[in-house]
């Protein structure tokens, strides 16, 4: 029995893509990479204590003084461990990836929420994406973009986007029928229905999706250090490679601290929306 030449076929397609689009992909990748570098250096320009205070202020606004104090302690601890530069580049990667995921995911979710056929098409795709082990996404990124920050972001975006799509879709589907009827009965255009009724009512659910996207971005950015993303993940990878347990632990703790802060921050935004009274 002959083997189905799957690997060969895929290689061929990839090669074809590389030949035909290689240049434009490279150009895009370069400028995107520059953008990320600029952002990082801007952040590095801000004094560390000011950045901590800004985070604390945000925490205090969306949640309260407890989270603010926790944020200050956690970030100061990261600074004390001398992980500040790694922290900054991880932060930039997470924000950029999450932002791209959200900017692409929410509109897709809106379409899925309002169009049953699209919902039916995209649901199994999302299932598939979410059951794949995360490092599988590194392979196509590596193939098209090589090693570096940009492929890391690319892989992260693909990995982190599904919840943004799913929760937006769900949120819009869950808008009570009679509220949609209100929109229609008063003669709203489809756009008015979306902006004045469906999105605001779905907002708390969408925020939950954004929270998940953030968390997935963080976890993927750490893994993506395998293909050259810098930051805390690179430190963890190095520690593993050299069996430096203590060092791995320090980097690991820093990742956990960021995870907790980002999680509480986005949840805080979500629940302040949920109560309805601003």
């Amino acid at each position: 029995m002959t083997k189905i030449p799957m690997a060969e076929a895929i290689d061929k397609v990839v090669k074809w893509l590389q030949i035909n689009f290689g240049e434009s992909i490279d150009a895009f990748s370069d400028s995107f990479g520059d953008l990320i570098k600029y952002l990082e250096s801007y952040l590095a320009f801000i004094p560390w204590w000011l950045l901590i205070l800004l985070f604390a202020l945000a925490a205090w606004r969306v949640s309260g003084w407890k989270l603010a104090v926790g944020t200050i302690l956690g970030l100061a601890f990261i600074f004390n461990l001398q992980l500040w530069p790694a922290f900054l580049s991880t932060l930039v990667l997470v924000f950029i990836s999450a932002l791209v995921s959200i900017v692409m995911g929410i509109p897709l979710g809106i379409i899925a929420g309002r169009n049953y056929r699209f919902h039916r098409i995209i649901s199994p795709v999302l299932d598939f994406m979410q059951t794949m082990p995360s490092f599988v996404y590194l392979i196509p990124a590596l193939l098209f973009l090589g090693i570096g920050t940009v492929p890391a972001v690319f892989a992260t975006v693909i990995f982190a986007m599904p919840p943004a799509i799913r929760f937006t879709d769900l949120g819009i589907r869950q808008v009570p029928v009679d509220l949609v009827e209100v929109g229609e009965a008063f003669g709203s255009t489809p756009g008015q229905l979306l902006w004045k009724i469906q999105l605001p009512v779905a907002l708390p659910t969408i925020m939950a999706g954004i929270n998940q996207t953030m968390m997935l971005s963080l976890s993927m950015v750490v893994i993506a250090s395998m293909i050259g993303a810098g930051g805390l993940g690179a430190g963890v990878l190095e520690a593993i490679a050299q069996l430096k347990i203590g060092m791995g632990f320090e980097y690991g703790i820093a990742v956990v601290i960021i995870a907790i802060i980002l999680d509480r921050l986005t949840q805080g935004i979500g629940s302040s929306l949920r109560t309805g009274d601003k």
Partner: protein
Amino acid sequence: MKEKIIVKNLVKVFGANPQKALALLKEGKDKAEILNETGFTVGVNNVSFSVNAGEIFVIMGLSGSGKSTILRCLNRLIEPSAGEIIVDGTDITKLNAKQLRKFRQEKTAMVFQQFALLPHRTVLDNTVYGLEVQGIPKKEREEKALKILEIVGLKGWEDKYPSQLSGGMKQRVGLARALTNDADILLMDEAFSALDPLIREEMQDELLSLQQKMNKTIIFITHDLNEALKLGDRIAFLRDGALIQVGTPEEITTHPSDDYVAKFVRGVDRSKILTAADIMKKPQPLIPLRDGPNVALRIMKEHGISSVFVVDRERHLQGIITVDAALEARKAGIMSLSEVELEHGPVVSEETPLHDTLTAMVDSKLPMGVVNQDNKLVGIIVRGSILAALAPDYSGSDSEDELAATASPDHKLVFAEEEMEQESANSAI
């Protein structure tokens, strides 16, 4: 009278391919047969009626009879499968999407059973929704909304969120939202059904008084007959999607066209369905025959009443002793009531219809005794109880328990006490 809405041969079949069902309907098959043969549900079956400008047109029928479907066809939230709906001379089934939006903005406004307020908007922002969609400037639409909010009694609540309001207030907002839109036609689908009875009554009154000022054309859906009779200029009855009868409350109650309608309207005349047992109160206080006038006077004083029922050992009713008679007996030195000439008020059996009870009550000043088959005294009726039972908010079509419950407390006691106070005041002189 001007016809505002004319519905001609309206049909709605729920299902992917209604043509087959429509053909079967033409052959005269009914809802159940079509469901069997095609699997499609006939929501509305060839319904025609018209609604006059300024009229409150009530649609009644059991659950699933197609009330909501008809209402939603009127602004095409549900697309009719066949038929015409002519509003102000235009067949709205032929409007395109843009014309339909304009029609909905300008001609109709809807009030929902579960209020359907937008949770992320304040009362004011909910109220302006219709005008906002039409692109009316913010200042103008808010001025208008504030005026309407004041009319429905929500002044001062503009900045609250729906979650901070009671059910009654929420529906006031729903009503205000519909009225602010300034449409001629109000579509109300069981708009008051989710409210508790007192608030509901209040909202009905409110709607009627608003209607006097605003003179809208209102299509009102309910399955509560009392509500229908109170609000409706005309009432339409639906069964299985078909129209059974349309008429004024008068016509419907006096000449129901078939058993279905008759079943609905039975019990409208409450004095014919309630019995003495439904409205009597506990026979208290009573005085045994062997006691004397002194005891009788003490009991009357204690309870603040001017007469008391006298019974024998088996609780058979012997008569009534009044304050005056007791005083006289005391003066005469009589020791036992058995020697006194007792007075006799009206007496009825438990099953006596309220109507007859009423008649018996008319020419007597004394309270009425209710006796069972063994002639034992089981209850007493004072004037107030009858009045309370006949009051319009008294729901005659509901379960018996509820009848007893509504009949007994407040009203009657208030009436009874008034009566007593008056009479004991008289006797004190």
